[in-house]
Amino acid sequence: MTSRRRDGHPAHAGEALRFRYDGRDYEGRAGDTLAAALLANGVRVVTRSAGLDRPRGVYAAWTEEPNALVQIEKPFPEPMLQATTVELYDGLVATGLRGRGRLADRPDPARYDACHAHCDVLVVGAGPAGLAAASAAAASGARVILADDRPAAGGSLPDTGETVDGVPGARWAAGVLAELAERPEARVLTCTSVFGHYDDNYLVAVERRGEAAASRERIWRIRARRVVLATGAHERPIAFAGNDLPGVMLAGAARAYANRYGVLAGRRAVVFTANDSAYEAARDLAAAGIEIAAVIDARTTVPARLEPGAFPGHVFAGPVLPGHVVTGVGAGPDGSVASVTVSAFSGSGLSGSGLSGEREIEADLLLVSGGWNPVVHLFSQSGGALRFDDGLGAFLPGVSVQPVEAVGAARGVFTLAGCLEDGAAAGARAAEAAGFPAPQRPVPTVIPATVAAGRTAATPPVTPPATPSATPSATLSATPPATPPMALWLVPADDYGTHFVDLQREVTVADVMRATGSGLRSVEHVKRYTTAGTAHDQGKLSGVLTSAIVAHATGVEIGDLGTTTFRAPYVPVSFAALAGRDRGALHDPVRVTSLHSWHVAHGALFENVGQWKRPWYYPRPGEDMDTAVLRECAAVRDGAGAMDASTLGKIDVQGPDAGEFLDRLYTNMMSTLKVGAVRYGVMCRADGMVFDDGTVMRLADDRFLATTTTGNAAAVLDWMEEWLQTEWPSLRVSLTSVTEHWATVALAGPRSREVLAGLAPGLAVDAASFPFMTWRDAEVAGLAARVCRISFSGELAYEINVTAWDGLALWEAVMGTGAVTPYGTETMHVLRAEKGYPIIGQDTDGTVTPADLGMDWIVSKKKADFVGRRSFSRPDTSRPDRKHLVGLLPDDPGLRLPEGAQIVAVSPLPEPPVRALGHVTSSYRSAALGRTFALALVAGGRDRIGERLYVPLGPPGDDPVPVTVTGPVLYDPEGARRDG
């Protein structure tokens, strides 16, 4: 295979890179895309289509590519990338992708991250219009971000080879970047695709930074006061028979390969167009050495200035055929283009009757240009309306709803001079609107000599459309006259089976007509019915074409039909980039208490409670969980144990109305609490269901400290603030979270009093001086502490609070007595369950009232009102068959029921349906009881005490295991142990 590189093209100065494609070794050049390198090596068939197994070639030159999907194998597997956007690197191994890609079978070693950015003006796209806009805006001193998805600035300039200010476009672009680099408030992001445009001018982009960078890809979350969209235009395909074969390519793409990459996409080309721009492409390709076998122009008039002779020095080999269309493509042995069939064309019906004078032209390249679609994706995502311009045959930005403006080709300005002027004006306007008046500066010029030669435009000069929005329309330089484009969407035929609309999804005109024939009228419905526009490219080329064909087939105007919705992301974005650094240890914050290092050093296993790591149990060598927990439980029941209770939520409630406020939120009375006393309380939601529980200390007449469950700390504070701010603003109360100001050590067990006495010699600890449910300020282990006498185990117990800074010292002092066993959350759960104390969120699930828990006593009968009270008078909350919290004792004292197990009344199980009476909420082995036990929510449970129920556990056919219902309090029901 001979090289198809242009001799002496500057792009070939790059380093030679070796790569492997579909098992064969090739050589490319630094700066090539994989597609350019494949074309340079004469690879025409890059893959095959997923469903029909048709050969597929490179069709475009950038992100609009519908065909050339590849799977990257090395250096790291990545599925479904476009060969036209993959930057070639040495050692690249890739294969053509047919159908689904394959994710890596190993963790991605690369780093991905994210950055927030803010600016006065964001310019999307660094083509002529975008560069002019960014330059003008930055000159004002405004903060400007210019984001462009290519490695080098210039947009279409390297593709067209045009000149600006007398120098080649690419050099001019580099100069603008150099100027921006000098401006401290300007930031240029290359290789950066802005893929989403959301409310409040919040835009999200992905920057491909490369393997050597600190992060391979970076997500930018940009908030811009003004946005200038200079996103350019996509050349439009035409639907004709065989338009999917390798060798069929957008005319502008072939021009880009020749000019930007110095690569010839073929040897002999037929150009099929309905607008002027393809002539410029043909001229450049002829100059590059591709034989132009014919220019097929669907329009009947070809302006003189575009006839071959108008390009001095370049002559097309074949004729220009006005009023002709391509009606077929002949394939060679490899399935790629070998010849092109053309016919004279009259009329615009849907059948082939208007065609005549068929002839065949030998060619290996068929270049197509159906006109240009402004890239309105981001504009549309921003909420802006689109309108159809009949002159251009394209959808253009209409009225915007955010401070965003489209410029240049993105709004249908297709001359280079026009784009430069449009961009500069918009950039200055945007900066001024953001508060930075821009200085008057000359607009970059397009050199006069080439104007005369008709070389001004990337695409043919067309009078720019008027913009109906408030956006002032730019005054444009004089441009040479143009021949209006013709909106040619498809070539009429009798059989539309190979007129492809979406090449990736293999949707043909026949498929679309089948959809409209079935009665579908909405382009959204047709999209979903046919899948046109749903591939990786999100219909960049096929979307508007689909609309046009639906309009054609249903006899409506395309402008009335509209397009499908443009949605983010504009280009595919990897999940790895979106995840960024939020993975592994940084995926979610780990919250730790001030005692954490001790727990770790002493071998604790941890339980996740929300974001907290709480010690679960402290196994000794050789202990499994059951053994360790039984030992810890026995230590508390028989001696003394200590637990880190620092994670409990703590809310300081201050103000003259604090008591009244708490009375309204808790079901029981708090305002009657005496200073120095503590009370247990339950909070319900308005529906009367238990929401949280905890203790309330009265610190002073106007000050309380409320504790919450660990998991609900933030929710309870929010709940309190909501009531205070929205319903009871007249209450003079303020709330402050002090959860992490305090470290809390729970000291429990019959020996806890003597341990505390030893640590706090100044504190009177006898039961009379320090009774149950009171608190005292004291010095404990030499630390300022607040000690509460409260118990969550039924044992004599204290909670010692010191500042978090002193927590470790307190804990070490407690452990230093040698009399205290550390215990974790599992032991705490067992001990409280033996006493029938529910855990909110474990034994309750938002459908449980205090009465269901057997805690009628916690609901005040005296208070006029409190949150949830009215719900207790609903018939449903007093139904006798509500689920009650009860105890369960399995007949087999060694059997621990699984939490969540269902409970039924009969055994063996009858045929379904079988009524479930409830479920097991907590289940443990008890050291104190010498057996297993469980808590459960059981329908009418309190009326079933003593009854035998059943728990189906085994496979179908096994008999459920028998259990006996008991009251929930299984240990020390008299409360004799509370005082030690």
Partner: protein, 184 residues
């Protein structure tokens, strides 16, 4: 008395050309709630040597730093060891007026992030615009840094005080060091 331990004790501070990250432990922090229109607010300002900042998102330096947290809420930050004195000074200044004064010194620790790359570092995880035009010295905010809630205060010379809840401090430190890798 046993030694106090700050949440980031044992974590080595970072000091590089463009970036410094260090914990300032044990600062006195008192949460203050008062009606900004009340005479008590003026008295509290007198007691602090600087009026309570009324402009949202600003802080002022008097005898202590006073950070605006909300329309009726401030965080008073002073040197270590002054909580009891500060609390009683504020209560005395308020007299009979209803104010909320709560010692929250150990609730958060302070991380100072300084150096020419400080903004770049914070931009990895803070959605606020920290440009000097928008968030210069004297500005503060309650916001998120990575996935932790923080109070962020801008100081002179591109330095930021990041006040983070004690339980999140180790997470945030790990996150900061990870983000800092490219600037060290």
């Amino acid at each position: 008395m046993a030694e106090r331990v700050s949440p980031l004790a044992g974590f080595e501070p970072v000091s590089a050309e463009g970036l410094r990250i260090a914990e300032v432990p044990f600062l006195t922090q008192v949460n203050l709630r008062a009606d900004p229109e009340s005479p008590a607010a003026a008295a509290l300002g007198d007691a602090l040597g600087v009026p309570l900042p009324a402009e949202p998102g600003t802080w002022a330096r008097g005898d202590a730093d006073v950070l605006w947290l909300g329309p009726d809420e401030w965080l008073v930050v002073g040197p270590p060891g002054g909580a009891a004195e500060l609390e009683s000074r504020l209560r005395k200044a308020a007299g009979e007026a209803r104010v909320g004064v709560t010692d929250v010194s150990a609730q958060r620790t302070t991380v100072l992030v300084g150096g020419s790359r400080s903004r770049d570092l914070l931009a990895h995880g803070c959605a606020l615009d920290l440009h000097p035009r928008m968030f210069g010295p004297g500005r503060c905010a309650q916001t998120s840094l990575a996935r932790a809630q923080v109070v962020l205060a801008a100081r002179e010379g591109g330095e930021f005080a990041v006040l983070v809840r004690s339980s999140f401090a180790a997470y945030l430190w790990a996150w900061l060091l990870d983000a800092a890798a490219e600037y060290l």
